[in-house]
């Protein structure tokens, strides 16, 4: 039971990450490999706010979101006019720099050894220690995050995102500014990733650079692509598959050290298969319409 609740916590954190990344990748057509950077920023900010500033968890989580959003705004202001390949490279750079900061700013992050001893969140006098109680907290956060994400991808805002994905000139001709919309949406997604980061810190009690590296960004992106980007349930399907699939390997009797290698190979295979059957790039839905 404990194990299943633990999986629920992991699933809900990844649900926030994948859904927020899907706003960028699936709906707005911005391929980002920097999502784990903001996930990490959220985790570190929440950790330091709780441990160094002695702030309550909720305030620490809010601070994490604010810092994530502000950082993303600063980074995306100069990057907003980039498109396609150069934008992907820019996000890669952000991720590499962030990873490097997590490892090398030892005074703040304690480098590769990470920070231990983050106390479990306490809300209104109730401690959310252990997977059982934490699953409620992270589950609620995931429901709120997915609902908010859904609101940005439907209605007039969703229409605008889809237009930016298809052709920014259409948006310009309508008297709208795609660059501003992109910055706002990048910041929104970064804020949600930072929220997920603060939940991760509060749950695991330990943060270290390996949790927020390029591989993590690729994992979140894989969830979006495998699940089918640009839908509501697609990324959640990808989360289920990519979280539960490696867990299943445990029960097949593969030793833990081998399992992690096998996992990487299977992820790679899965991605290849999905991209082959999901059109040329595996990105936006219905790309088939394009010549």
């Amino acid at each position: 039971m404990e194990y299943i609740l633990h999986l629920l916590v992991v699933l809900s954190i990844y649900a926030i990450l994948a859904t927020s990344l899907d706003i960028l990748v699936g709906h707005m057509g911005v391929l980002s490999v920097a999502h784990a950077a903001f996930y990490g920023v959220g985790a570190y900010v929440a950790t330091l706010a709780v441990l160094a500033l002695r702030l309550p968890f909720v305030v620490a989580a809010m601070l994490a979101v604010v810092v994530g959003v502000v950082l993303c705004a600063l980074i995306s202001l100069p990057a907003a006019n980039l498109r396609d390949d150069s934008l992907v490279i820019a996000t890669l750079c952000v991720q590499v720099v962030a990873s490097s900061v997590f490892v090398n700013w030892e005074g703040l992050t304690r480098g590769a050894q990470g920070i231990r001893g983050i106390p479990p969140p306490v809300l209104l006098g109730v401690s959310f220690a252990g997977p059982g109680r934490f699953a409620v907290l992270s589950g609620l956060a995931a429901i709120v995050a997915v609902t908010l994400a859904r609101r940005t991808t439907s209605g007039p805002f969703g229409r605008l995102l889809h237009a930016i994905r298809e052709d920014e000139v259409v948006v310009l001709c309508a008297g709208k500014r795609p660059a501003i919309v992109k910055i706002v949406v990048l910041c929104f997604a970064a804020g949600l990733a930072a929220l997920a980061g603060s939940l991760f810190a509060g749950y695991s009690g330990y943060v270290s650079p390996t949790s927020f590296g390029l591989l993590e960004s690729v994992l979140i992106l894989s969830m979006v692509i495998v699940g089918g980007p640009g839908g509501v349930w697609g990324p959640l399907g990808g989360v289920l598959l990519l979280v539960l699939f490696p867990e299943a390997l445990r029960f097949v009797g593969i030793p833990a050290n081998v399992a992690s290698e096998v996992r990487q190979i299977l992820f790679g295979l899965l991605l290849i298969v999905v991209t082959i059957f999901h059109g040329e790039s595996g990105l936006a839905p219905g790309r088939v319409l394009r010549k």
């Binding site: 908010l148 609101r151 940005t152 209605g155 007039p156 805002f157 229409r159 605008l160 889809h162 237009a163 298809e166 052709d167 000139v169 259409v170 948006v171 310009l172 001709c173 309508a174 008297g175 709208k176 500014r177 919309v181 706002v184 949406v185 929104f188 936006a284 839905p285 219905g286 319409l289 394009r290």
Partner: protein, 253 residues
């Protein structure tokens, strides 16, 4: 803007690409309203002129005025907001959404396109209803009412041209700049589009369109601007201009 100043004029407009002068227009003043056709052989600079007028290309020199306001270096979205709508030779539509949504997207200044309003939903539903009604009205105007819920990418070429026109009208523009709105379109649909342009001009708008077919130009244009090698070589009433020897020569060459 007084009724007697030209809504759109430019002077000494120049643009080079890799050292080749693509545009050098000394003085060009469009009439207050009516239909103006821009004609010229391929590579004459017609599209570059439209791009320079709408901010998609930054001219190397010269000025563009919209009424009394200089718009030379404004970005395309600002110029669109000032009431200049633009269509492109290659279709610029959101192919994966419906015809109706394409026109709704083109409606300006929507509250629901701000993140806060999208997240809270405040005031969005009523605004959407208004925009849907206006968009439906425009689709009726261009004769696409039965295609409202078809994906834009699945419409025929002529229907896509009509849809682009509806999108251009969504912002209630004062000036329409259309790049080959009837090129490659079936004769019947082309006539339909030309009739619409006449109706739009009759409502007091300035309609400028790029066209190759002289018979279409003769039928609807009040003024014709002939371009060759980046310059305006003649401008005036079609019956006066189109038979001039230098114009004929430019086209034969």
């Amino acid at each position: 803007m007084t009724e007697h100043t030209s809504p759109l004029r430019c002077s000494s407009l120049e643009k080079s690409f890799d050292g080749v002068k693509a545009l050098r227009v000394r003085d060009l003043e469009f009439p207050v309203s009516g239909i103006t056709a821009i004609v010229g052989p391929n590579g004459a600079g017609k599209t570059t002129l439209l791009n320079a007028l709408t901010g998609f290309v930054r001219p190397d020199a010269g000025t563009v005025f919209l009424g009394n306001r200089e718009i030379t270096h404004l970005p395309p979205w600002r110029i669109a907001r000032l009431g200049v709508a633009r269509s492109f030779q290659e279709m610029r539509l959101v192919r994966l959404v419906t015809a109706l949504e394409n026109v709704m997207l083109a409606r300006p200044n929507q509250r629901g396109e701000r993140l806060f309003a999208a997240l809270t939903g405040i005031g969005v539903a009523a605004e959407e209803a208004t925009n849907r009604a206006k968009a439906t009205e425009l689709l009726r105007f261009v004769g696409l009412l039965d295609k409202t819920s078809d994906l834009a990418g699945q419409l025929s070429y002529g229907q896509q041209k009509l849809l682009s026109l509806a999108c251009c009208l969504a912002g209630e523009p004062r000036v329409l700049l259309l790049d080959e709105p009837v090129a490659g379109v079936h004769a019947e649909v082309a006539q339909e589009i030309l009739n619409l342009l006449v109706r739009l001009a009759a409502q007091g708008r300035l309609v400028v369109f790029v066209e190759h077919d002289f018979s279409a130009v003769r039928r609807v244009a009040d003024m014709v601007v002939v371009m060759d090698q980046g310059s305006v070589i003649a401008a005036g009433r079609p019956e006066d201009v189109l038979s001039r020897p230098e114009v004929v020569e430019a086209f034969v060459a």
